[in-house]
């Protein structure tokens, strides 16, 4: 189902690429709708993205989150201790041999047919993360994490984007976060 969602988003973006003269207000309404992923509503998605920690206060959790981002190879961007928010991003190579092979075949077929084809394939993947920490009470806080992914093609076009909803990826983050909170708590 997740792959179906990604496929739909990709198809959506590709169709946007082709249909450039759409009504901006209608497009904003469509894109701005709350995400429903695999039939899950906001509450279900929020539960994948959130964990509570009962060992550190908000400020120390911000520091632990920043350390976790760095452990995972993210560059920390915006950070606010007061509001318990931080952002980060990292880029990596998204080139896949299979995509290039398909595009090469299309170039050859187009040439044989007397036309031309500009090859397009994934080149760079940028993953962004937003962390929001909310104090539940004096002893515990909730950490909410949000991942999304943008893929730029070889022509520099930002042509694919999706919200990452794979529970395993979030769990990996929280596992690292648990280690960071332990280190922060014990000042190691």
């Amino acid at each position: 189902m997740k792959s179906k969602f990604r496929l739909l988003v990709t198809i959506g973006l590709t169709s946007v690429l082709l249909a450039s003269c759409t009504d901006p207000n209608k497009h904003a309404l469509d894109i701005g709708a709350p995400p429903i992923i695999d039939g899950k509503t906001i509450a279900a998605v929020r539960s994948i993205q959130s964990r509570s920690f009962d060992t550190l206060n908000q400020e120390n959790l911000v520091q632990a989150s920043a350390a976790t981002l760095q452990d995972l190879g993210f560059t920390v961007g915006e950070i606010s201790n007061e509001f318990g928010v931080l952002t980060g991003s990292k880029e990596r190579d998204a080139v896949e041999a299979g995509q290039i092979a398909v595009q090469s075949v299309l170039v050859v077929f187009a040439a044989l047919g007397g036309s031309s084809h500009t090859p397009r394939y994934d080149e760079i993947q940028k993953i962004s993360i937003t962390v929001l920490i909310s104090e539940i009470d004096e002893k515990s806080s909730q950490v909410r994490v949000f991942f999304d992914r943008h893929i730029t093609n070889n022509l520099g076009e930002l042509w694919k984007a999706d919200l990452i909803t794979d529970a395993e990826i979030y769990q990996q983050f929280f596992d690292k976060m648990s280690q960071s909170t332990f280190l922060e708590e014990n000042k190691l």
Partner: protein
Amino acid sequence: MVVSSCVTTEEPQIVMSTKGAVELRAIQSRKFDTPDDKKVYRAIIAVMLDLGYAVTSLEPEARTITGNKLAQLTLTATIPASDTETTTVRANAVVRTSTQKQVAPVQVDGAEFYQTRFFDPLAQALFLEALYETEPKELVK
């Protein structure tokens, strides 16, 4: 606006709304019956995550936040004013209708977008009603 959002040969700049400043302000602004602008600012951040925006820019001192959704929709929310009784929130969105570089992004000026895709969820998060500062021409209930 639809025509001007199509492909141009010039460098793309944001296509601004043709609506008047007063009308646009009415569409984009609401006030909430709370003087706690910190609480409202936190709620804005949480609501933007709920709606699927990744935070791209944060200015807590200026009570401003910008988020981006699926590389197509950019929403900036700010708290321009708060007094002893109310806090005002203003939102501004810009949408890309194409991934082609030469297609200009467009300022969103539809009242329905701001009401249903931002102020309604924000009001729910705050357990408060989003009140119009001045009622826009096209009222969205």
